[in-house]
Amino acid sequence: MVAPAYVGTPTAATADPPTAGPIVRVRDVRKRFRRADGTDTNAVDDVSFDVARGEFLVLLGPSGCGKTTLLRMIAGLETPDAGSVEIDGVPVFDHARRLLVPPEKRRISMIFQSYALWPHMTVNQNVAYPLENRAEKLSRAEIASRVQASLDLVHIGDLGRQYPGQMSGGQQQRVALARALVAGTDLVLFDEPLSNVDAKVREQLRAELVSMQRELGFAAVYVTHDQHEAMGLAHRIAVMGEGRFVQLGSPRDIYHEANSRYVANFVGTSNELPGTVVAIDASGQATVETDIGPIHGSVGSPQIAVGDRVIALFRPERVRAVPRTGPPANGTASSAGFGGTVNAALFFGPHTEYHVQCGAHLLRVWSNTRTELPEGASVDITVDEADVRILRP
């Protein structure tokens, strides 16, 4: 049952780190868990990706999608069942070569969801700990000054002598951040670090985290289930589902050019109209016949052909609603138009959400104009072709 397996040190740990190339390279990584009922489930299923130097990558997905498992495999806290992981050009896991570098040899930092501050050590001792373990021996004074600099960076320079148990959640979060940054590692892993603090503190910490990351230039892999957090932090977002990357791209791409209903709905609110494809042109623009009229949009899912059942999907803030003056609107060549009735108007501050009944469908429209459409009003709604994604149901 128990056999010595992966032991080793990074091959190039002593060599100068390559300046080019990704900081993390993950190839075909898989992790299987056995459920209580005895069946196997793939927590992470053949995932491959790179993280560039200085990049902020967010792993986004609902709970149970494998994002934390993936992060812990990069950290070395979980062992993959297959594949390989490289950090800074150094292989740290390779199933084929039976290589496994333990977490303490990987030269990374990590912030845990629980912060994992050692309660029996003061803030200073907590933050000094990573420095004490690095290969190069630092003098006492050097450690103290770097600890202080790190604490100053996160604005808790005067709390060094306190124990974590005596601090608020936001302050604990800052200590965890200081501890992760103090050693100056090129890669910092974040496991939902902001989920335990209240909304105001969360917003503030997020803003500070962004400016710190951009300034210090470390690469970050950040796990969260909060799409707002993901959008606000990431250079790139990987939306995960059932152990796989469903889509990997910039926040804008993910939001506007989702490749599936799953992604579109996870990162924002959307209107969905089911229909049948009646025409596709060479540039990937499709016309879909729905039961309230035709709609045009760009094809998002692969392999969609004429005659397929699809969903036309568009964002509420890309829809315009105007009071109807003449007969019900019809679509034009570049935009769809439907007539409808305002069922409800909900004022949220930045925008007003109208629930517009169009035939059997209830469409959501976000408008930020000062003029208000009264409930019960007849409206024409239009949506541009560029704002519609045609996706598999």
Binding site: A3, A96, M110, Y129, P130
Partner: protein, 591 residues
Amino acid sequence: MVTIAPPEPEAATPAPAREVRRRITPFAAIATVVATAFALLATYPILRVALGLFVVDGSPTLGPIRDVFAVPDLGTLVLNTLIAVVVSGVLALIVGSGLAWLNERTDARLAGITDSMPLIPFLLPPIAGAVGWVLLLSSNAGLLNAFIRWVVGGVGIELADGPFNIFSWPGLIFVYTLYQVPYVFMLVTGGLRSADASLDEQSRISGASRWTTLRRITFPAIRPSIGGAILLMGWQGFSLYSVPVIIGSGAGIDVLSVRIVDLLSFTYPPETATAVGLSFIVLVFVGVMWYFQSRLLRSGRHATMGGKGQRFTRQELGRWKWPARLVILGYGFLAVVLPAVGLLLVSFNGYWTPKIKWAGLSLDSLRESVFESTQTLTAVQNSLWIGVTGATIGMIAAALIALLVVRSRNRAVRVLDGAIKLPSVFSHLVIAVGFILAFGGPPFYLGGTTVILLLAYISIYLPQGSVAADSAASQVGSDLAEASQINGAGGGKTFRRVYLPLMVPGLVAGWAFLFARMVGDLTATAVLAGTSNMVVGFRILQIYENGSYAELASLSVVLTAITALVVGLSLVYSRWQGRWQGNSRRPRRAR
């Protein structure tokens, strides 16, 4: 430098690849060996008892069972034991639950009681308490009796003796009860703390009186805790030897535990087979209680436990607040203060008399009977040696095993853990008998040595140490260790810098309890000790048989002083070590 094992053939074996990958660390190897050794130490003697029922001198027989039924007063023996355990158990349940409720849910709460109550059996070992109460309430010479006679004499009522007599059924049950109460208190307090207080508040809002709420909601909701208390009392009660040997013998009330010891240690030649048979009766009683308790747990109709720290208002008792507090304090007075005073007075007086010469009190008698008696001094030295060694070995083993269990999901590890905890479901008496059978004769020949005492104590009290170590280890969240690894510390350093400092307060407390238990043990001692391996417990029995009461009191005072000192110091140390927990806001620990 990179690869150690040859590459795994890339065959089509997808799922089981995971199992190959667990690294076996030196730590895991050592811990597994230790766990196996202690599991064997725990299970083997128990097996020998079971075997001893049917096999005598290597040949199968039903002799022991026949012998048991041939015991002339078997019925009386069983009946007496049942009466003592059941009556005192019911009383202790009422008193202990009541105290726990007063202290946990009403404004009669006294700061410090919650922490000190479970310590009572450790501060004043039952044997010392029993001796103390004999000195207080003996019909003629009892100090308290004399005091009461003097008080009522002042109002014109002259009594020749009494009014109380400790050597009687009420006396026996009274002292039994005193020592069962802390267990009930401890478990019911735990239950009340984790049960949601809003259940009670809802009941009051629904129109139920305070009493109806108690009867229909509060206590039924914590049935598992109460069941646990009953079970614990059963284990303790059926094999309790100290109280019945002192008080029961004087009152002419024979119970099973005393008879078993008599057959083994004070009969020549020892009637081991009959003793084994009688131990089996004890085993059956405990088994029956265990069965009912597990039924109770499985029924599942008890409260869902909410998270800790809900906000609730303590019930105000109004004018009953101070009477309630007096009841709480009164228990401590009866269980600790009075018997301790009795012991001190007799010890300092030099002999037992109801007429204390206050001017003549001195430490002379204490010095003579303890420090100038070779036998007693040897006993104290042996006990200290065994206590320190046993508690240290026990706690180190418990800590290793606890960490092994926390870090491993291996089924074999769970089995070992279960085996080590097995002695906790058997009565101490049965285990002690098992040690005689297992190690007393060939090939070990450990009978009459301090080593057999040491082994038996470790086996008997390791489960308690294990519980302390388990809770210490489980308090250290796995993320704390992972964070240490991420920050560059290897396994050894993580153990030294993270696990150990966080576990030390719990381990020290566990050590002190083990020490107090081992030094104050009488049950296993009575079976296993003798003149060649003299320990305090055995010396107390000897003095009780043919020594003076002043000697008895003096040795009890020394025993109490030793255990109280060690337990007290460990508490101070744990508090000091845990100073970083000072604020009520504990760091969050997920998973």
